[in-house]
Structures are given as C-alpha cells and as structure tokens.
Amino acid sequence: MIPPKFDYHAPKSVAEAVALLEQLGSEAKLLAGGHSLLPMMKLRFAQPEHLIDLNRIPELRGICLDGDTVVIGAMTVENELIASEVLRERVPLLGEAARLIADPQVRNRGTIGGDIAHGDPGNDHPALSLVCDAQFVLQGPNGRRTVDAHGFFLGTYMTQLEESEVMVAIRIPSFATHSGWAYEKLKRKTGDWATAGCAVVLRRSGDVVSHIRIGLTNVAPTALRAEAAEQALLGQPFTDENIARAVAAAIAITDPADDLRGDPEYKTAMAGVMVKRALNTAWARSA
C-alpha cells in the first residue's frame, strides 16, 4: 500500500495555508493527523495532487481559556486533550471521551479539528461538539467566522467548512456547576469506530433536568443531536419513564449503515442502549 505522488506544502501560518488552498483549489487536501487521509491515499481511494500539512502552524495547537470559554487549537491532538488540566476542570467530557478514540499512538497524531472537519459520521468529536455547544472558528480568504457545531454537520464528509477554509479553533463554554456528562461508545475493539455512541451533557436542578444535550455517533450519515430526546427530559424529573421516552425519541432519528459492526436494527437498538447508559451516568455525576 503505497500512496500516489503528490506535492507537499508546509505553511507556517493559517493565512499561508488559506492562500495555498485558494491557489491549489480542489486538487489540494489538508493534512492534519493523517490517520484518515493517508490510509485512504495508500488504498488510492484518495489521490490529491497537493497536501497542505497543518502540523507546522504553532497557532493551531494548544488549549487556553478565553474568559469562561475553553479555546482548543484545531491541531491539538487527542493525547493533549486527555492531559489537559484546563479541560479536566472545565470540560471534563472531552478528555474522558478522547481515551475511547483510536489507540495511544494514533492519539499522538489525531487532532480534534481533523476529526471534526472530516465529517465522518464514525468520528467521535462531532457528537461531543454538539453536546458541548461548541463553536468552530474557521478562517478563509475573507477572514475568520465562527459557526455553531449545531448545524455544522451536513452529511457524510460534508460540513459547513468551505473548500478554501481552515478550521482554526474549537470554542467550548465551561460546564456549569451541577453538570453531568458521559460518553458511551460501543465498539468491537480498541481502535475501532463506534458501533453506536452517545454523548450527554446535562444539568440538574433539584430533581429536574434543567439543561440537556444528547449527541449520537455513527448511527446516521452524520453525527446527530437528538433534540426530541432532549425535550423528553428537559424540565422533567429523571424517571425511568422519561428516560424511556428520550431513548425512543433518539432511536427514532437514527439511520445507520449496514456493515460488519451490525445491521441497522442492531445499531439502532445499540444507540438506545448507549443513550440510556450515558443519561444514567451523566445524571449520577450531576449531583
């Protein structure tokens, strides 16, 4: 398995990367961690003429605070998410979920921005971004814009990211007090994509769910935010009956692909199991 020939570009700044994207057009691909793109190239499913490597742009890497918002450089790798004290204090879901992604070596290369921008429904960060109310900072020829995670994912390998844009950062508001969170991911083995995954962030107010986000991984052409499921619990007591309504509502929006992980019936059922487990874990933590 040998990749086809290409030209390699290693810009030192986002502006330079954007200029290259503009200049080279659809023949160019951005190289982040490379663990999706390079295997595709080795299989010759992808044959870009130019690779623009984002790994030499320091401004794209790192985690910092902007007021109450955590700002994560798009080229920050999974192991940096896991190690981050800021994330552990502010958005603990992220580092915890990152441990379930790929394997230790791949987590040294795989980036949060690459995972999101690729638009692969099997990737984990899209659903995590949805439940964290993340925003994405995108830079293109006309400057920067910030878009909500909600609405960003349009379909398999399709997002709001334009061809000449680079994802710069992910902005995530710190979790409020009394937040609970969980990421449940059913997978066949270490390193696999989810058979079905569910991310939950919620807050409790007394016995009532006062805030809730439910996101689903790999059970539809794109990551899903299960809004009807959220509604089944928002403002309601966390009872078995309401959980069951949320699970049913989440299951109703799935549209999984048939593959060796399972058929649509199984994946749909597993989405339900993951939702239930994630809700229970998140609720227990929100106390």
Binding site: M1, I2, P4, K5, R44, D103, L186, R188, K189, T190, G191, D192, T195, L260, R261, G262, D263, Y266, A269, M270, V273
Partner: protein
C-alpha cells in the same frame, strides 16, 4: 591432584537441559532490532515486484494493456499468463493434487486473484505501475455458497477441468465438485444408529478465517545467470519442500536451488503453501537476471493467501439413555475456493479430520467430506493446528454438548462417561487411529476442582432464575484430543516425500556443538528448546549448542514446521542423532579409561567407571579425543545425522474451561475466566510451553469471538484490513490460567507430544460452548461463530433474552 567433583545435580542444572525454563537464545537479536526477516533482505541490483489483482470474483479477461505501466520510468517488465505460457508456468500443481493459476489464464476465479505482475526499481514505482495496468473483464455469475455450487445448473467455475470426471482423490460428481472422501465404517455406524434409543444431530458452520501472522508472506528470488543457481529467501514454514517444488517447476536442478527461510514473523499455517507471488518473483528473477523482491501487503494477505476452515458440518450421535455414545456420523461440505490448494498429507484431502471421535470411546463411526469449488480464494490450511483437527475437535465437542443437553446430563458428567479410559491405551479408534496414550479422567477432575465447578453451576442457576439479571452466564467445558506430529511415512507424504524429519549434530573438538534440522522456527523457540534436548542427551551445556534451521544448503531435508510436528518429529530426530553420538562417545570413553564399555555409567555429562567417581571422561574430553586421537578402528570426528520416521502420531490432550458473562443489552461477551490444562507429555521448556499456550488461546479467542471473512453476493470479501479482521489487542484479550498433567508419549524418544496448537484447537470450541451454554436454558444447542456482539445480540433477541 584430586579436584572436588561437582555434584551431579549442580552439573545437570548448568546444562539447562530438558525441563528447564531456559530464557530464549533468539531474543537478543529481536529485542535489538536485529532480526532478519525477508523484507529486511536487500541484495545488490534488487528489483521490486507488485501484483495486479482482479477486482471481481468471476470473469473473463478480455484485454490487458501494459503500455501505460511500461511507460513509467523505472518499470522493467509487466508479465501476464501469456508471458508465462511458453515456460509452462502459467499454471502450477497444488499440494492437493489440483492445479492453480499462477497468473489468471483467460479467466479470474476469485476477487484479488493474481492477473499480472510488474517489476520495477522500487516498491513505489511498482505500485504505480500495478495501478497503471489496464485490465478489461467480462463478468460471470458468481458462486459463493458451496451448496449453491453443487446445484445442477450452477455456473461452471473451473473450465480448465472440463471433462475431467475424476481428480486426485477419486471421482468428481459435478463440475464444481472436487472430491468426496470417507473414513470409518458406514455400515457399522448405521447399525449403531438403528439400534440406539437416542439420536441427536446438529448442523454447524465453521467459518472461513485467516491465520494472519503479523508479517505477511514474501520472498526475495535471486537467480545467478552465470552460475545457474537460484537462491530464494522466503517466508516458508517448509523450505525443503519449496526447494523440491521450485526445482520441479523451474527445471533448475535441486542441487542448484537454495531456499532460505530467514526469521519468520509468525506463520500459523499461512506460510506452508507455495503461492503465485513466489513463483512469479522467481520467474522474474530468472528472466531479468536480477534479484526480485515481493512482499504482500495486508489486504493481499487476508484476501489471497491461505484461508483456513470453511467447513459446513452435519454431525449425528447415537447414544444410550444414560449418555453412552454408541455411534458418530459426520457429513461435511468443504468450501475449498477456486483451486484445491489445501496443504494436507497427500492421502488425506480432509487432513486428519477423522480424529473427530475425539477423546471418547465410540464403537462405530463414519465421516464423509465433500470438497467444493467456489469463487473464493484457495487455501484450507491448518491455522495453528494439525490438518483439519480444529474442525474435528469442534465437531465432536459440540456434538457431545448437544447430547448432554438433550439428555439433561451435566456436560462434565457426560464426558466422564464416554472418555477412553486409561487402561484402554493404546486405543484404536473407530476411524483406525491408534491413540498412543492418554489419561483424561484425572485431568478433568483437576480442572473441575480448580474452578469449583459445582459453585459455578450453582451461580449460573441463580442467574438464570433472575429475569432481571443484566447478564447471562455460560460455562464452556471441552476435553480435546489432538493428533499431531505428522507423520508416519506409510500414511503421510507431501508430493510423495514422506513426512519424516531430520537432524544433524556435530560436536566440535572443544566440546561445543552445532545442530541443524529440517524444521524452521516461527516463534516457537527452536534455537532454545532443541539445544535443551541435546544438552540432556549429550551432557553439553545448551548455551554452547548452536541450532540452525531454514537454509536448505546446510540443513538436512525435513518437511518443516506446522501441525505441531517439530517436537514430535524433529525433536525425536534430535534425540536419535544425539544417541548415535552418545554410542560412539561411549566407545571413545571406554578406550580413554581403558575399561570395557559395559563398565561405564553415564551421569549427566560424563562416562564414569562404575564404582569409581574419580575415573570419568566428560563429553568434552571425549570430543577432543575424537578429533585428536580416536581409538583404532573408529572414524575420527563426533557427529551424526538422523532421519526420523515416526512410528505413530502423538496425541496431546487437554481440558479447558471458560466462564463468560454476556451483556443482555449489547451482546458483548466478557471472558470472566479461562482455565487451560494441557498434557503435552514431556515438557522441554515450561516457560516456552506456557507462552505457546497463551498465544494459542489468544488466537482461539480471536477465531471464536470475532474473526470472519464474509463475502457479499458479488464475491467481494468484506473486511480485509485489520480494521475489520479481528486481531485482539491487550485490552480485549482475557487473562489466562494454565495448568498441566504429564502423560509421556510411549513411542517418542523423550516422550514429548507437541503443544503449540493444542490451545488453539481446544479453546475455540470452549469459547463457543460457553456462549452456547449461556443460552442452553432456553433450548439452544448451537450457535455458529464468530460470537461478535452483533451476532450474540441477534441470538439474544431471537430467544427473547435481549433487554
């Protein structure tokens, strides 16, 4: 001058002989990155080969256009079947008596079949060139299911066999039929069934899997046009057989063919066969006069070289009402893929499948195996097992459980009632095998005690009584007997060469030694353990015994390493060669000590004059004398060669028990406990045995719980990378508990039986039995592997157990 004589036990300890957990001699190079695997070999002027493969499973080749590929700078040649035809090398004989296309001749028969080769300066250019070769196909209807293949109007797969009404193994009854092979006595089995009050039957599919060693297959072929000599470095488990076959195919005299198996990154049966890639690389080297390297990639490995299993089995047992088995009948439809390229002893197209009466005293038995062509890759190799023994053990162990469930007899108890008893050995099975030794009952009790079996069953009963339990609990128990060490040449040969093995030992003047064998290690640690046998036999420290294998120019002819045959066959050859040396050494020692041979006692490392410990000659003393001044009438030197033709197979056995907890919501199965008791006879190196058992259990775990090679209706193999093909990581792999008993083989010179494959053969039905047992209370007698979460969940759902 009287030196204090070191006590015998201390001297024995310093030999590090049989029974010692000696650390491995091999490791120094591997832990420092200095292994020498085939892809590490670089020869001056070496070119690289890549293979153009068929994207479709069945079709005619309309046209091949090489021009674009040949136009790429650095490309030396593009060869197709038409180019090999003048050399008569476009087809080759298989070890199973069939022929296989080297490069597709007008037709492709399976997805990823070899269609053309490209030779280029480096592997990058070769890959570009392979992509640039244009092949136009006309698609033909695809046959994936072997039962469909036998329908009267099924497409003809092997047009090259048109009109051939018989094959290497008898008459062919259909255009996609290869052979039907029978063993046992059908009339006796029928009679037993007619008279029996209880009959059970079960259909099961042992899925197609792949051995998938971490190193793929490959070779470096180097033909020297000046000398007319062909050297090939190759990932082969049987280098001498490769030499014979290469000589036959190429016409180069066998004396001018040198095959070298360097370090091998795991074999597990995948590296027994002779693949088109090897033949093409050799042809290319001969044609171009330069060394040519071919290394498979992982997708090619899984898709095209040597699958295993794919047996569709129907088993039947006849029994008394108290569970005594009276008869066994088995019918198998064996999917061999597009060419019959199984690697079995010539006489046995279904290998040693007729060991399927297992550890049980069954008076009447019959089995019939029907080999069938389909549009899948050829193979059918022994994946970490003796030929088809894994299938046989799976069949009988499943059937015994089915019978136990039918009669509501505990699964341990039914085994007690049917085991061949100790006093029955040597025991001749209804299929005609003479089991050399065994002692099953105490081994079973040892395992049941170790895990507190009654407590486990009680816990299971309580779990079953709780409808809200989030998990199902299953207990799998298997009592397997293997048949390894192929084999006696009166029964076993490969292409007519008897399945003996060999050893040559030379003792050097200063008392160190070198030994060479016809086998080849792929991780089993031969360089360590073979030396231990010699150390014990000859009293030479294993540390100063070099062991070499794999180079046909230096090693004596042997049939190689697979089917757990190294210790039973080559290990015996080592002991026998050592004993020849020992006999000569005794003569020399008697001469040196001026006594008759009969006055000498052997003790650890020396010949002693009986009754006087101070008068002795060590083996080192004798070695010096053998080269310095041998007794009159004796040849100088101290060496021996032995070719060992085993009188029988060996029959290792084991009792395995597994406890699983199945998540009723997701179908995930957790292996709570796995207890493996093995009896491999004499234990040469307990550390290595334990390592081999861990590895075999882990491979068995992978097969039972996840490995699969599913094909869609078009014959596309789904899941041909390590993303989908299940090789467990350290996280998924259970922790293993091991135990042993020792029942030496009575006919093996040191009583050893072979071990590395038992844990694979034995564990697969154990995992399976545990999963099925979790469903036994709702009447389930069998579930086909692999037990992925998805498939188990489907079973949960089908039986209203999913939550």
């Amino acid at each position: 001058m009287s030196a204090v004589i070191q006590p015998a036990d201390e001297r024995e300890a310093s030999l590090a002989g049989i029974g010692v957990s000696r650390l491995r001699k091999e490791d120094a190079r591997f832990i420092q990155g200095k292994g020498n695997y085939v892809d590490d070999i670089k020869l001056p002027g070496m070119l690289h080969m890549d293979i153009v493969r068929s994207p479709i499973a069945h079709g005619r080749i309309k046209r091949i256009n090489k021009e674009a590929a040949l136009a790429i700078p650095g490309v030396h040649a593009v060869l197709t079947a038409d180019d090999l035809k003048p050399l008569k090398l476009h087809w080759m004989p298989t070890l199973a008596g069939d022929v296989a296309a080297v490069l597709a001749d007008e037709k492709v028969h399976f997805q990823m079949q070899e269609v053309a080769i490209v030779i280029a300066d480096d592997r990058y250019i070769a890959a570009d060139a392979a992509e640039a070769v244009e092949v136009e196909y006309e698609e033909l209807p695809v046959v994936i299911d072997p039962y469909d293949a036998l329908l009267p109007d099924a497409p003809v797969l092997r047009e090259d066999l048109a009109g051939k009404t018989s094959g290497a193994h008898g008459p062919r009854e259909h255009h996609n039929h290869i052979f039907t092979w029978d063993a046992g006595d059908l009339a006796a089995a029928d009679a037993a069934f007619a008279a029996a009050p209880i009959k059970v039957e079960q259909h099961m599919h042992y899925p197609r899997v792949h051995p998938c060693p971490l190193e793929t297959c490959g070779c470096v072929a180097s033909f020297d046009p000046i000398r007319g000599e062909l050297t090939t470095y190759i990932t082969s488990q049987a280098p001498h057989v490769v030499r014979t076959v290469v000589s036959m195919l190429s016409g180069v005299p066998e004396s001018k063919v040198r095959i070298v198996s360097p370090d091998i990154g795991g074999g597990f049966g995948n590296k027994v066969g002779i693949y088109p890639g090897y033949v093409c690389a050799i042809v290319a080297s001969i044609v171009l006069g330069r060394p040519v390297k071919w290394i498979e990639d992982r997708i090619e490995n899984i898709s095209s070289t040597a699958f295993a299993r794919d047996y569709h089995m129907d088993g039947q047992l006849a029994a008394t009402e108290d569970g005594k088995i009276l008869g066994l009948k088995v019918n198998v439809v064996a999917d061999h893929g597009a060419f019959d390229a199984c690697a079995d002893p010539t006489k046995f197209p279904a290998g040693l499948f007729h060991i399927c009466s297992g550890s049980y005293d069954i008076a009447a038995a019959h089995c019939s195996v029907k080999g069938v062509y389909t549009n899948k890759a050829p193979g059918g190799v022994a994946y970490r097992c003796s030929f088809r023994v894994t299938e046989a053990v799976y069949l009988i162990e499943r059937m015994v459980d089915v019978l136990a469930q039918r009669l509501n007899i505990d699964k341990a108890e039914i085994r007690r009632r049917n085991f061949i008893r100790k006093e029955q050995f040597p025991y001749t099975s209804a299929f005609g095998f003479e089991y050399d030794s065994g002692d099953y009952h105490p081994a079973l009790e040892k395992v049941l005690d170790a895990v507190d079996y009654p407590a486990l069953r009680a816990e299971q009963a309580a779990r079953r009584a709780d409808p809200n339990s989030p998990t199902l609990m299953g207990i799998g128990l298997v009592s397997f007997t293997e048949i390894v060490g192929a084999g006696p040449s009166k029964m076993c040969d490969i292409l007519g060469v008897g399945m003996f093995d060999s050893c040559e030992i030379r003792i050097h003047p200063t008392g160190s030694a070198i030994a060479r064998m016809g086998t080849i290690t792929q991780g089993q640690g031969h360089q360590t353990t073979y030396a231990q046998i010699i150390a014990t036999e000859l009293g030479i420290p294993s540390e100063v015994i070099q062991v070499e294998e794999g180079d046909t120019s230096t090693a004596p002819y042997g049939l190689g390493t697979y089917g757990s045959r190294s210790t039973p066959v080559a290990g015996a050859a080592i002991a026998m060669a050592a004993r020849k040396i020992h006999a000569k050494a005794r003569k020399i020692a008697a001469h040196m000590l001026e006594v008759s041979e009969s006055d000498l006692d052997w003790e650890v490392d020396r010949f002693k004059v009986r009754g006087d410990d101070s008068k002795f000659k060590t083996m080192a003393d004798v070695a010096w004398q053998a080269y310095h001044q041998p007794p009159a009438g004796l040849e100088p030197g101290l060496e021996a060669v032995h070719y060992y033709d085993p009188p029988n197979f060996t029959f290792p056995f084991g009792i395995y028990l597994c406890v699983v907890d199945i998540d009723r919501a997701t179908g995930e199965t957790k292996i709570r406990r796995f207890y493996a008791l093995d009896d491999c006879g004499t234990r040469i190196n307990p550390m290595i045995i334990e390592g081999q058992i861990h590895g075999g259990l882990t491979e068995g775990f992978a097969v039972a719980m996840g490995q699969q090679m599913p094909f869609d209706a078009q014959g596309n193999l789904l899941g041909n990378t390590l993303m989908d093909y299940f090789l467990p990581t350290a996280v998924e792999t259970p922790k293993w508990e091991t135990d042993y008993t020792v029942t030496p083989s009575p006919h093996h010179p040191i009583g050893a039986k072979g071990v590395a494959e038992s844990p694979h053969v034995g564990s697969i039905p154990t995992f399976n039995a545990a999963v099925v047992d979790a469903f036994a209370h709702v009447g389930v007698t069998h579930l086909d592997m692999p037990h992925t979460a998805f498939r188990v969940w489907q079973a949960l759902k089908a039986h209203n157990l999913a939550i």
